[in-house]
């Protein structure tokens, strides 16, 4: 059986996928997960999940984030010098970049939402 391993660095963090493992059952899967993913790095917790239990949906199945241009939600048209707060500046840059991307793909699938 295949098992997917997710590792949480420290308490409160999200678990991140860190690899997979082949093992006949849950007990051995958790042993191997500890050996491969828990020994040499900081680990607060590991999740070991049968691969079959992981349902995946990707961009072929669905258009994430919808098909309409929702750029109106972001205040990218104000002339504000955001350098006083780096998080704001970063966020604005991120929004602008996404908006550009959306602008490029919006023409492909304009539809209802």
């Amino acid at each position: 059986m295949r098992w997917e391993v997710f590792r949480q660095d420290k308490r409160g963090d999200y678990h991140k996928h860190c690899g997979d493992i082949h093992a006949p059952d849950r007990e051995m899967a958790t042993l191997f997960a500890q050996i491969q993913h828990g020994r040499r790095m900081t680990t607060n917790s590991l999740w070991v999940v049968p691969s079959d239990e992981v349902t995946e949906i990707d961009t072929e199945d669905t258009a994430f984030g919808g098909r309409t241009d929702k750029a109106y939600r972001w205040a990218t048209t104000y002339n504000v010098d955001a350098s006083f707060a780096k998080e704001v500046e970063d966020s604005e840059k991120e929004q602008a970049a996404v908006e550009r991307e959306r602008g490029a793909t919006a023409s492909e699938g304009e539809g209802d939402d």
């Binding site: 082949h22 093992a23 006949p24 007990e27 051995m28 042993l31 191997f32 050996i35 491969q36 020994r39």
Partner: protein, 277 residues
Amino acid sequence: MGDLRSLADLSDEERTAAEALLFRLADDEFVLAERYTEWQVIAPTLESDLALSNIAQDELGHARVWYDALNRIGHTEQSLVWERDPGSFRHSTLVELPFEEGDWADAIVRSYLYDVAEDLRLDAVAESGVHELVDPIEKLRSEEEYHLQHAQQWLERLCDDADGLDHVQDATDRLFEHALTLWVPGPEAAAIEEYGLRGDSLASMRRQWLDTVGSFLESLGVTMPLDPEDDPADHRPAAVGRDGSHTDHWPRLHDDLTETYRELDRSDVRRLRGESA
């Protein structure tokens, strides 16, 4: 826990006894590690390949720790390994035996028998009152955690299958008397006991070991090569390792691991960036 004495503080007789105990511990781990590494790349699953490699590295680290203590009483790396007379090694014959080719059950049964013994032995040594013996125990234990789990879990699954059970039985039959040499006293055993360097006697630990491995293996359908009334002393192989007598396999293994040193005609031990030993 009372005050710990250092090896340097011991009387000459005590130190000789401690030295013998250290060689027993170090040689066991070292030779075991050497054998384990033979499974690299050919273990039945990638995960177990990694697991056994990790276990081997742990055991090598542990051998290193015990050899360090021997360094403190005058031994050098040359005298401990590279230029040492193979007949002076004191490891159990269990760890020097080659694996039956391709037989994973051999590796697992061996690992299981060894790790249960290791558990008991570390407990006993922790009571020695000697700093160099006690200081590493906690660290060693925490690194040993996966070893026994790995062996036990594999044994359970191998024995679930008729074929697997056959292999486990064969391996047990073949390895058991060698495993008993884990408990055979060496030449300094009386002194080791007299100075309290082991918190428990070899006979007592052997009894506990037999109980543990016996009940576990029997619960899996394996027949123990020994009956409870048998005297383990009647089941020794010709060579017991603990007194320097070894099987024919040992000289070849020792040759292999010292080959490069000899071929390159070394007289010192080279390290990274040219620092000498």
